[in-house]
C-alpha cells in the first residue's frame, strides 16, 4: 500500500475543528514519493481543510504532519516559505490574483519565489498556459475576463509553473467540459510521469479519479475509512466506498439534507 522509504507526506492523527464542529477527527495518511493519490469524499467532509492543514494555511489542532520526513506542523516564517517552494497548489476556486494579468499569475511563483527575471518568467508562463490549452492571447487578460473553466486552467498552470515536487489539485476538473476535463487529466498524468511529481488530488469525478491516481483514499466523518490501489476501488468490500463511487442515494452514507 504505502511506498517504501520515507513518505513524501505523512499525516498522523490530524484533528481540526471549527468551534464545536469537528471536521478532521484523526486523519492518518501516507503519500509516497512519485505517488498519485486521490482523496474522495462527500461535499463538506473536510477534504479541502485537510490539504490546507498540510500547507499550513490552517493550523491542525492535534496530530503531526511530515513533509520529506520533517515535521512541519508548527513551523512558520522562513522555514515555511522554504517548505512551500516544494509545493504547487490549485485552489478549488482558482484564487487567481485579480490585480495581475493572467501571465503574471502563472509566473508569480517564478518571479517572487524563485527570483526569475520577468522576461524569462513570461516565456515560461506562455508555455505553461499552452499546456493547459490556453493560447497566448489570454496572457494579457485580467482573470475576471475569463470563464470559470478558463480560470481553473490558469490556476492549474500556476500550480505547475515552478515545477514543484508535490502538487495538490483541489477539484482540477470541476467546471470543465468533458473534453477539456480529459485534457487536464492527461496533463496531470504526464506531469507526474515526466517529472516524478507526487500529487494529492481531490475530486468528485470518478472517471478523473481513476485516470489520475494510482491510489485512492476515502474521507468520511473526519477519518480515512478506506485506502487502496485504484485498481481495487471496484472491489473494495467497503459499503461506503461502493455507495460513493456509484453515486447511490441509498446506502450507509446519509446525506444531511435539511428542509
Amino acid at each position: 500500500m504505502a511506498a517504501q522509504g520515507t513518505p513524501k507526506i505523512e499525516l498522523r492523527g490530524v484533528k481540526k475543528r471549527f468551534g464545536d464542529k469537528v471536521v478532521l477527527d484523526g486523519v492518518d495518511l501516507k503519500i509516497g514519493a512519485a505517488e498519485s493519490l486521490v482523496v474522495i469524499g462527500g461535499s463538506g467532509t473536510g477534504k479541502s481543510v485537510m490539504i490546507k492543514c498540510v500547507l499550513g494555511i490552517l493550523r491542525a489542532d492535534e496530530g503531526k504532519i511530515f513533509v520529506d520526513g520533517e515535521e512541519v506542523t508548527r513551523i512558520g516564517g522562513r522555514a515555511r516559505e522554504a517548505m512551500l517552494k516544494k509545493f504547487g497548489m490549485l485552489f478549488q476556486g482558482a484564487a487567481l490574483f485579480d490585480s495581475l494579468p493572467v501571465w503574471e499569475n502563472v509566473a508569480f511563483g517564478l518571479i517572487q519565489g524563485h527570483g526569475m527575471n520577468r522576461r524569462k518568467a513570461h516565456d515560461v508562463a506562455i508555455e505553461k498556459l499552452a499546456s493547459v490549452g490556453l493560447g497566448p492571447e489570454v496572457a494579457m487578460l485580467s482573470p475576471s475576463e475569463l470563464s470559470g473553466g478558463m480560470q481553473k486552467r490558469v490556476g492549474l498552470a500556476r500550480a505547475i509553473a515552478a515545477d514543484p515536487q508535490i502538487i495538490f489539485f483541489d477539484e482540477p476538473t470541476t467546471g470543465l467540459d468533458p473534453i477539456m476535463a480529459d485534457v487536464i487529466n492527461d496533463l496531470i498524468v504526464s506531469t507526474v510521469k515526466n517529472l516524478g511529481v507526487t500529487t494529492l488530488s481531490i475530486t468528485h469525478d470518478m472517471a478523473s479519479a481513476r485516470k489520475i491516481s494510482n491510489r485512492i483514499a476515502m474521507l468520511y466523518k473526519g477519518k480515512i475509512i478506506w485506502d487502496g490501489p485504484t485498481a481495487d476501488i471496484d472491489n473494495s468490500g467497503n459499503p461506503y466506498v461502493d455507495q460513493f463511487i456509484h453515486g447511490r442515494a441509498v446506502g450507509p452514507i446519509k446525506m444531511e439534507v435539511r428542509g
Binding site: 490546507k52 499550513g56 494555511i57 516559505e81 522554504a82 497548489m89 490574483f97 485579480d98 508569480f108 517572487q112
Partner: protein, 257 residues
C-alpha cells in the same frame, strides 16, 4: 434609546481587538525593514493613496479655509481687529484643520479601499495563494500600503495647507474686502516652520493609522461579500476615531510644553 450605546459597542469591540491589532502592527512594522521590499508596489500605492487623494483633499481644504476666514472675520470684526484673519487662518489650517481634514478624507477614501481589496483577497483565498507561492502576504500587501501612506500623506498635507490658505485668501479678498497683498504678507510673516512640521508629523501618524486599520480589517474579514462590507465599515469608523484621538494627544504633546 441610549445614543452612546453604539459608540460604546464600537469602542469595546475595538478594545477586544487591540491585542490582535498590536501583534499585526508589530509584524507589519518589522516586515518594513526586512527584505524583500517590493519597490514597484510601493510606487503603485503612493499613486493610489497620495496622488488620487489630491482632488478630494484639495477641495475640502479650499472650502475649509474659506469658512475659517469667514468665521474669524465675523469674530474679529466686533473688536475691530480684522487684520488677524490671515494669521489665525494659517495657524488653524497648518496646525489642526489641514491634517485632520485630510486625514479624515483619506480615511474614508483609502482605508475603505484597502479593506475592501484585501478583504476580497482574503475571502477568495488569494491571500492563501500568496502564501503557497512562498510570498509573505504582510510584506506583499501591508508593507507597501503602510510605507506609501506614511510617505505621501505629508506631501498631501502641505498641498492641502497651501490650498486652505488660498481658500481663506479668496474669501477674505473677494467677499470681505481685505487687502490682498497685506493678507499674503501677514500669512507668510506669521507662519513658522514648526506650525507646518507639526501638521506633517500629525498626518504621518494618521497615514500609519489609516493603512494599518485598512489592512488589518481586510486581513481579518470573513464570510463573503457581507464580511468584506463589514470590514470596510470597521476600517473607516475605527481609523476615523483613532485619528481624532491621536490628534488630541499629538496636539498636547507638540504644543503642550
Amino acid at each position: 434609546m441610549n445614543i452612546l450605546a453604539p459608540i460604546g459597542r464600537v469602542f469595546l469591540a475595538f478594545l477586544a481587538q487591540t491585542g490582535a491589532l498590536t501583534r499585526f502592527m508589530i509584524s507589519a512594522v518589522t516586515s518594513c525593514v526586512r527584505p524583500p521590499i517590493y519597490w514597484g508596489l510601493i510606487g503603485q500605492q503612493m499613486i493610489r493613496i497620495g496622488y488620487f487623494s489630491l482632488p478630494v483633499v484639495g477641495l475640502t481644504a479650499f472650502f475649509t479655509g474659506g469658512a475659517l476666514a469667514l468665521q474669524i472675520y465675523v469674530g474679529s470684526n466686533r473688536f475691530g481687529v480684522e487684520s488677524v484673519v490671515p494669521n489665525i487662518v494659517v495657524l488653524g489650517i497648518t496646525r489642526e484643520l489641514g491634517p485632520v481634514i485630510a486625514g479624515l478624507m483619506v480615511a474614508g477614501r483609502v482605508a475603505a479601499a484597502i479593506a475592501a481589496e484585501i478583504g476580497t483577497m482574503r475571502v477568495t483565498e488569494q491571500i492563501d495563494a500568496l502564501t503557497t507561492l512562498s510570498t509573505n502576504p504582510i510584506k506583499y500587501l501591508v508593507v507597501p500600503r503602510l510605507i506609501a501612506a506614511v510617505v505621501t500623506l505629508p506631501v498631501l498635507v502641505i498641498v492641502a495647507d497651501a490650498i486652505g490658505v488660498f481658500g481663506g485668501y479668496v474669501v477674505a479678498t473677494e467677499s470681505l474686502g481685505l487687502n490682498g497683498p497685506i493678507y499674503l504678507k501677514n500669512t507668510v510673516d506669521f507662519v513658522t516652520h514648526d506650525d507646518v512640521i507639526s501638521g506633517v508629523i500629525k498626518i504621518a501618524v494618521f497615514g500609519f493609522i489609516i493603512a494599518l486599520l485598512g489592512c488589518y480589517n481586510g486581513f481579518h474579514s470573513k464570510g463573503g461579500a457581507q464580511g468584506v462590507g463589514a470590514a470596510t465599515t470597521y476600517a473607516v469608523v475605527s481609523s476615523s476615531i483613532l485619528i481624532l484621538a491621536a490628534n488630541y494627544f499629538l496636539t498636547s504633546i507638540l504644543f503642550g510644553n
